[in-house]
Subunit: 421 residues, 2 copies
């Protein structure tokens, strides 16, 4: 089933905002068996919107528009939609009260524009927006569906997930689909693809494997679509079971790389493992400059397993706060196995934690040498009985070297906690 | 002069990549006096590309396409462009050699696909790509211009800046333009707009002020366009001087908010101020969990003014590492003026730095109370003679509360160094 996306708003054309909505929509729709066949961005101008609605409806049976529903004068989508569907605009008391209740909840005065936001095409089925003011709208005509959503990403995502996708599935019932995403860290796409060559050959045609890489991580997405014309009542369940069986095969093939499923992050998984074991964690960071601590503390509730960190950028602080010995720094340098081992031991004492991670490296752009080029990073993780150190050479730009160091470091903590390091 | 953008590639429609190119293009083009009137994304399919080229050329005199020039089979833009311009595809030896030299430079073997990438429409003026393999292409027909660029952001940006914008300016000579962007931190768009009401009324019609907000920061962009029909030789210079005079007025009106110009970040400015004064800096962080240290150390060369930080998430570490007194925590709580003041004093000693920033707050989603709701943050900055503390209630989600705390904290450091706090 084809979908056309229509992005409404001058701010997108002027480049004042980066359009993240259509990537999210493209992903979600394809996960649910719909295919985005095109998208178009138009300014906040009645004629452009009407022309684009016509074009989009010729291309696809489902049209989704985002943006142009806000309270400012620029937003004329409501009027254009009313004209397009030969519908009157009418004041909608229930929506007005919902908007008023929303502003009361966030403790802000109800703006005058709320009346305008509650004035909507009569032919629209309204999709209540619990996380913002403008409701979504659902229109049907000639066997086609048009959905109008606000442009604010989390409001759009809420309405898509809670209202639009379930209705689309009901309106255009398709074949059963099943997905499972496994998350890996520590190897690139090509290395993983090599290890999965045989696995991929055994995959039946109706099960697909997609590689979705990001910095230091690759998501592996298995997608299954029901392979036969007849769809028995238990098809959903059987397909899901089949996809899960292949996911288990992947887990067995990549036990060292797979850390989680779906939207779980590495820092969440590390946090969960620490919490389950009742362990307190801390970091001793040089080149990552607090980025490990930032990732850990970006997870709600992290205070139950994170005590704190020492960011020791200078050698003086490595000695003073982490007890790294002067001779170690002199003989082996700050970026060395010996230093990161002493940093872990020092962090366990200074932070009074059960497990500590240390990082010392050359983030760049300056500081590289022939023996220790830019991107050289030593990492160590340990507790009071055991410390494990690893060296990596990331050889990327400063920010990426910092991020990769933190990702690889967290993955070391994960493996250490699982006794797999 | 109107521009239409055409994004080519399945990956954009499937949501596998977020389209950052069109925001960048929208900004750059509008800075140079061009206006993006629409954009469209199409799959890697000949018919779709041809239809979109037609539509785009009807809408604007300049069409810019991105994507579809890579080495994989999916990329059929070259063929579609040849067909659209009734041109033959021909092997282009010079381009082939350029691609070969590029791969030699990055130390990778020349792929077979290089021949395909060097097979191009004969009617194209080739735009040499020094930072990648696929060249850009420039076509002219019926007084209109079509430019085809690769989709890789830094290659696209290189070709736009070095080749396309200068050619466009020559091809469609426009009036002189001048811009100046001033960066502010610490107040929202509406507060700034109120303070600039009178200023905006005095602006002549040919000088415009745009507000470009992001989290905790607003960029103010002044744009001037030469106001008369005759353009004397010194027009560029006079217009630039006029825009700079208004920028100076803005600086005088918002001395507390403006921290830099153009692409300067707050952490770069703080770093520069520290370096100029020969001061060493460190942070004592609770709720920001290392994010302040991360921002500071994301700037190359920060080791010359940043010694380190103590991330004291637990009260025990606030006492042990920063010398915060037990009674202070008991009487006033960890999120209090008294605590952040003691954290600064403790950080100056523990980190042996000249200036320190401390942060303690409730990032959420848990931990709020009626007296100290989620988002309540105390910040303090100081040296050995003076400590200044401030309270803010950001009331956003966890990540935004963390980011806003760090931005406001860095801005306090900046003002402290300028004796403006």
């Amino acid at each position: 089933m084809d979908v056309y996306l229509l992005l409404i708003g001058d701010e997108i054309l002027l480049g004042q905002v980066v359009d993240t909505n259509s990537a999210w929509l493209g992903q979600q729709l394809s996960l649910h068996g719909y295919r985005v066949v095109g998208k178009m961005a138009v300014p906040d101008a009645r004629a452009d919107i009407l022309e684009a609605l016509d074009l989009a409806a010729r291309r696809a049976r489902i049209v989704i528009t985002t943006g142009g529903l806000g309270p400012t004068k620029d937003d004329i989508t409501r009027g254009a939609l009313a004209e397009y569907f030969n519908s009157e605009l009418a004041f909608h008391q229930e929506t007005y009260e919902r908007i008023a209740a929303y502003f009361a909840r966030i403790g802000k005065p109800l703006p005058e524009s709320a009346r305008m936001q509650a004035t909507l095409p009569e032919k629209a089925t309204l999709l209540p927006n619990k996380v913002g003011s403008a409701p979504g709208m659902w229109f049907e005509r000639d066997g086609k569906v048009l959905v109008s959503l606000p442009g604010v990403p989390f409001e759009m995502q809420y309405l898509m997930t809670e209202e639009v996708l379930p209705r689309l599935r009901q309106h255009f019932p398709g074949k059963p689909l099943a997905h499972r995403t496994l998350r890996t860290a520590g190897e690139g796409e090509s290395t993983i693809a090599k290890r999965l060559e045989t696995f991929e050959e055994t995959l039946p045609a109706h099960i697909r494997l997609a590689y979705l890489p990001s910095l230091g991580q690759v998501r592996l997405r298995l997608s299954g679509i029901w392979p036969h014309a007849d769809v028995p009542p238990e098809a959903d369940e059987r397909l899901r079971a089949e996809v899960e069986a292949y996911a288990d095969q992947l887990r067995a093939l990549l036990p060292d790389l797979i850390f989680g499923v779906e939207d779980e992050t590495l820092e969440q998984v590390v946090g969960r493992l620490l919490q389950e074991r009742g362990l307190m964690f801390g970091s001793a960071e040089s080149c990552t400059g607090g980025y490990v601590a930032h990732l850990i503390t970006s997870v709600p509730g992290s205070s139950s397993y994170f005590s704190g960190s020492v960011i020791a950028y200078s050698n003086e602080l490595k000695m003073k706060l982490l007890g790294v010995r002067d001779e170690t720094l002199t003989h082996f340098g700050a970026v060395s196995e010996e230093t990161v081992r002493e940093m872990v031991a020092g962090a366990l004492d200074a932070l009074e934690v059960d497990v500590a991670l240390s990082v010392s490296g050359i983030a760049g752009p300056a500081g590289g040498t022939p023996e220790k080029p830019i991107g050289t990073v030593w990492l160590a993780v340990g507790d009071r009985t055991r410390i494990v150190a690893q060296k990596h050479v990331f050889a990327r730009d400063r920010i990426k070297n910092i991020q990769l160091s933190a990702i690889f470091g967290l993955n070391m903590v994960r493996k250490f906690l699982l006794n797999a390091l």
